[in-house]
Each structure stands twice: as C-alpha cells, then as structure tokens.
Symmetry: C2
Subunit: 368 residues, 2 copies
C-alpha cells in the first residue's frame, strides 16, 4: 500500500488500445486488466476466500441489492464490515443494485428522487436513493462503491435513452455529493444504450464529477455482440486515460479479450460460476459441456494447458460423472476452474501488454 | 507400509472395552477407532480429497450399488481404479450394496443365488451375487471390500431374522471363496437383528471364515437407540479381538462414543455431510441448526473449541446467512466442519485409550 488515495490508478503501459494499470484500494492493489468474480450475496458461489486467493483473484464483486435485503446493513456492520463478514481481506467492489432493481420491472416504481421496490424474497418494500446506496456501500466498508444508475432495456427509443442518461447524470451528481471521500472509492456508471450521442453526453456528465473511476453500464442487456463491442470501444474512448474503466457484465473469454482490446481495465460477470454450475468448463478455445456423453470416458484434464488444481487432479470423465450424479463437487470444481481460466487469461494479457505484444496475443486467442 | 498382508490389524491398547488399533491397508495405515466419511458416488459430497486430507481423514467409504450403476465398472477400471478416478490416494472401503438393494423393496427380487434389482436411475435390470460383488470391488482396487449380505428391516419375526442370517452366512462362504486374497481385504457382515441368538450364530459362521475384518450390520435400521447400543456391545464381544470391528451406519457424536465404548474400531455414516447440507453444525455437546433466527447476529465461530478452518474464519451469522440465501458454500462449510468434529473426536478418543483414560473421556462427552 502507498499513501495514494483509495482508487488511485496508474497506467503502466499500453499496447495498441489495450491498457496495463495498477489500481490502489483500501484492501490492496489490483493489477489491471482484471476480471472480478461475482459474489452476489457475500459469497462467490461454492468457493471459499482461500480458493480465490489460491487462484490469484485480487478483487471480487458483491451486490448492494442482495445484501441490502439479506442479511441487511446492520448485520454486516455488526460483523465488522463486509470483509470480516465473509472472510475476504482483499478488495471488494459492490454494484449499486440499480441493474437488479430495474430488472424487477413490475415490482419497482421510479421517481426523480429514487426508486421504491419490493423484495423478491418477502415482498417487503424498500427504497434506494443515490445517497442511501452510496452510504450503504460505505457502511459495508467496501473498496469501490458504484453509484445508483438507471439501466434501461434494449431496444429503447432515443427519448427513453436520453431520459435515462439525464436521470443517471442527476443521480451521479447527488451520489458524488453524498460520497464521504473515505476508504471507499466511488465509481460513476455511464448509460446511453447503443446511441453514441447519449453515450457521449453521459460520459461528459460523469467525467465532470472527476470520480476515481468510471463504469460502462447498459451493455450486455439485449444488444448484439457487435453492438456491444462497438459501444464499449466508443464508450471507453470517451473516458479519461488516467482513470480505471470498468465494463459491467462481461465474462466470456471472447468478450473479455474484446473488452481489453477496447481499452477496458475491469470486468465482472456471473458467467464463469453460473456456467460452471451447469457443467460448462471454459477454455481459451471455447467451452466444453461436460454433461455430454463424449466426456464420460475422457480421462484427460479439462484443459491440457491449464495449471489449476482441478486440471491437475481430476479428469473430464470424473467431472462428467459428478454432474450426471448431481454431485455438489462438480459445481465447485468447474466454478474454480472457470475463474482460474479468466484470471490466468488476464495475467497473460497483462504480460502481453507490458511487452507491447497485445495484438499478437489477442489474435492468438482469436476473440475480437 | 510394512509387509503385513492388506487388512492386518494390530490392537495397540485397550481401556475398559474401548480399543486402540492400527489397520494396515494397501493405500496406507488407518489408526482406529476411525470415522469413515461417506463418499457414496466417488465423492464425499461437496469436499475435495485435499479437504479430507487437511481434516486428517485416512479412510473413506464409497458404495458398490451406486458405482455399479453410475459410472459403472468399466469406466472406473479404464480410469485406473477408484482411487485414480476420484483423486484420493488413501484407503477406500466400499460397502457391498446389499443395504441399498434391499432398501429398494418392490424393485428387487432375491433368490438363493443372489438378487436381481432395477436401477433407481433408469429402471435397467442388474444382478448382484456374492461373487460378482466381491469381484467388482476388487476390480475397483479398493482397500476393503464388503461381502453381499441380506439386511432386513426391523422389527422382523425370528424366522425372518434366522433366514437372513442363514442366507448371509451362505453368501459369506461364497464371497470368501471368490475373494482373490490380493490388495483388497474382505470383511464379513454380521446380521441377526436384535436377536442375540441370531447374532451369535451369524458371528460364529463369519468368524469360521477367518476374514481380515468383521462388520456389524443390520443396526440403525429401525430399532431403538438402547437396542442398537445393547446389540452393538453384544455383537462386538462375539468377534475376535485381533480383527477390526466395523459398526455400519453410525455417525453422531453420541453414537460414535457409545460404539467405541462397545469395542468397535470403525464407523461410517452420512450424518455429518447430510446434516451439514441441511444447516446442522455438529459439536461435542450437540448440534446447532444454523438456520435458526438465533444465529443471524451470532458472530462467534460454530464451536469455540474446534480447530477447523471453518471455525477459524467464519461466524455462525455468516453461515446462517449462506443457508438463508441458499448458497452452496454453506453446505460445503458445514460438511467440512462436521467431518472435522468427528475426526478430531476420534483422535482424542485414541489418545484417551492410549492413556487408559477412556471412561473419563467418555463420561466427559456424556454420550453413552
């Protein structure tokens, strides 16, 4: 740790548009580009903090919406903060819950001041405002808090997109005013759908607030992959070079490589753990569905080139058996392996950028 | 490893009727009394071989019935045996599948030669004989194979009990003849319900075969706990002192202590993992249901005296949260903790017997 303020970002190298940086946070340093495994409810599903440390993970994501409802602020504060509660001592970023609340559709009611919604667990009523969402995350003691944004579904009319940008910008100003400037860094979230003018307006409004970092939100929500990549590239270029850029909801091998190529520094996605729980094993050359009969007598590892503990000890046939027998261990092993694959991919990407060899690395993966 | 034949047992110490021994097997030495976690389908549910090694587990149990049906003999043999298939290099005992097949009731048809049954998975027809069940387990390369027995439900008439003993003895003679006397040791299984004369007859028939070890079967199947303890004590006394004694299906703190007090050396039970998956945390002074509201703000460990990794890092409140949120990690953590509790209890029991202080230890646990 240095004496830099939490959220201080140093751009160490570039190769083409790909960036290699260091992000200093209250609970440690994150080397970027970095993939952040998702621990929605204060647990990366099926894995322990020790597993994540062994994989090499330096930052995880949790979710304001879920933690607000269960176990709630008071329990986590009484536990000594989210890190203590879940036994993880490295950085945590919490999403704002905006995406989750807006996904509730019929069960939420938005107004200028905030959004009222009913819990998916017990139907109880709750209210998010730009201010209380920042305060909640600060009370949890996380390293990076995300502002409350309005994330609309695509396709949407340009009027709806412009309105969501205007509201998100207004909320960003309120979030920035409420932010305590303490150990928790605050990131803004750009909206604007697939409309370049709306993206530019959103970026300009957020950058004017001089926040520690900026996320690109509102993608991977219904647009095509080509649109996603085009908008991610366009959006990244609107952001200052000296601040970290976070593309929300991206986590396949192809998409992460494409995002790094767009100049993005951070990503998160449930894909590695969710697909792992369903029997899908990630590799750099594509996913394997280990439930397929083809794997029942395949005694090789998931991936010959993978250096994870799962590939060292277990065969495709064994993991296939675990899924056929509905055994818990299968979900655990593939969640571990899939996160390892993305973490190792990012480590190699960082080395490639440092060596100014990004384009060759990207093309070898063949993903953009 | 010494040059003793697989299954060689040395009685190291006694304290009252409790026994402290060493069992030498093809994949290592087991210090007894020992609790064997259950890995029915070639996995101790939710845990890796590394977890089990870290806990200190030296022998696990798997099940012939389940492995016969899925993934089947040929897959496991092609993998290089059950140890290689599941990544576990310490001893494995496989149950014979007798208990599971007889539990199928309407889906099995028993005759003098064996039992024909339909798979609970796909309805396909299969047949177990005393010979093919031993051969299957030897083909898998396990350390201890169990003979096929006829396990009847209690209460039962004395005629039914006598018939099951007669059939079990006949099958034991056939199993002993079929046994290759290789790396896999063969254990007999005593039957006889709660009928002392039937137990004595079953024991005499099995002991005449001079097998490497003897199990006490047919208990924990409908009788009261008092009957179970009485019959376990009576049955153990019928067995030779120089062979290991295995009480099948016992695995609560109280029952394991009672069984050691009866002169039993080995136990297995799904209780620690099954109860763990349902939110029950074991301690020496009783179980805690971590789903109870009382634990949602309890930031202490499951058990102040437990030295396991779960108790070192996580609170009752956090694990309670995991169960409320239906998170996989809760099942994993309690399975780990519960096996640790029984494994540490057996380590302490071994020390107490060595010090000829068993009665004081037993009474401190307060379990018999």
């Amino acid at each position: 740790m240095t004496n830099a303020p939490p959220g201080a970002f140093t751009l160490r190298a570039t190769s083409g548009t790909a960036r290699r940086g260091t992000l200093e946070l209250a609970h440690g340093t994150v080397e970027t580009p970095a993939f952040m495994p998702v621990g929605t409810a204060a647990t990366v599903k099926g894995l322990t903090p020790r597993d994540l440390r062994e994989i090499g993970v330096n930052i995880i994501l949790a979710n304001t919406y879920h933690l607000w409802l269960r176990p709630g602020r008071d329990t986590i504060v009484a536990a000594g903060g989210l890190h203590r509660f879940m036994g993880w001592d490295r950085p945590i970023l919490t999403d704002s819950g905006g995406f989750q609340v807006f996904s509730l559709e019929s069960r939420r009611d938005i107004d200028e001041d905030g959004v009222t919604f009913r819990s998916h667990i017990d139907g109880s009523s709750h209210r998010f405002t730009p201010e209380n969402v920042v305060a909640f995350q600060e009370d949890l003691g996380v390293d990076i808090a995300m502002m409350l944004d309005e994330c609309i579904k695509l396709p949407a009319t340009s009027e709806a997109v412009a309105a969501s940008v205007a509201r998100t910008s207004a909320w960003a100003r309120r979030a920035a005013s409420a932010w305590r400037h303490g150990a928790t860094a605050l990131f803004g979230i750009m909206q604007g759908g697939v409309d370049e003018r709306a993206r530019a307006k959103s970026a300009a409004d957020l950058v004017a607030l001089d926040l520690p970092g900026y996320a690109i939100g509102g993608l991977s929500v219904g647009e095509t992959r080509d649109e996603m990549v085009r908008l991610a590239r366009f959006s990244a270029a609107l952001l200052p070079t000296d601040k970290p850029r976070y593309l929300m909801g991206v986590g396949t091998v192809r998409d992460v490589i494409a995002a790094v190529d767009c100049g993005i520094d951070m990503f998160d996605c449930v894909y590695p753990t969710r697909s792992g729980r369903h029997g899908r094993a990630m590799t750099r050359s594509g996913d394997l569905n280990l439930r397929n009969a083809a794997f029942t007598r395949d005694f090789g590892p998931i991936d010959e080139d993978c250096r994870c503990e799962v590939c060292a000890l277990f065969s495709r046939a064994y993991i296939s058996h675990l899924f056929r027998a509905n055994e818990l261990l299968g979900m655990r092993l593939l969640s571990y392996h899939n996160i390892f694959i993305l973490d190792a991919l990012m480590a190699d990407a960082r080395r490639a950028i440092e060596a100014d060899a990004w384009a060759a690395f990207r093309d070898r993966i063949g993903a953009v």
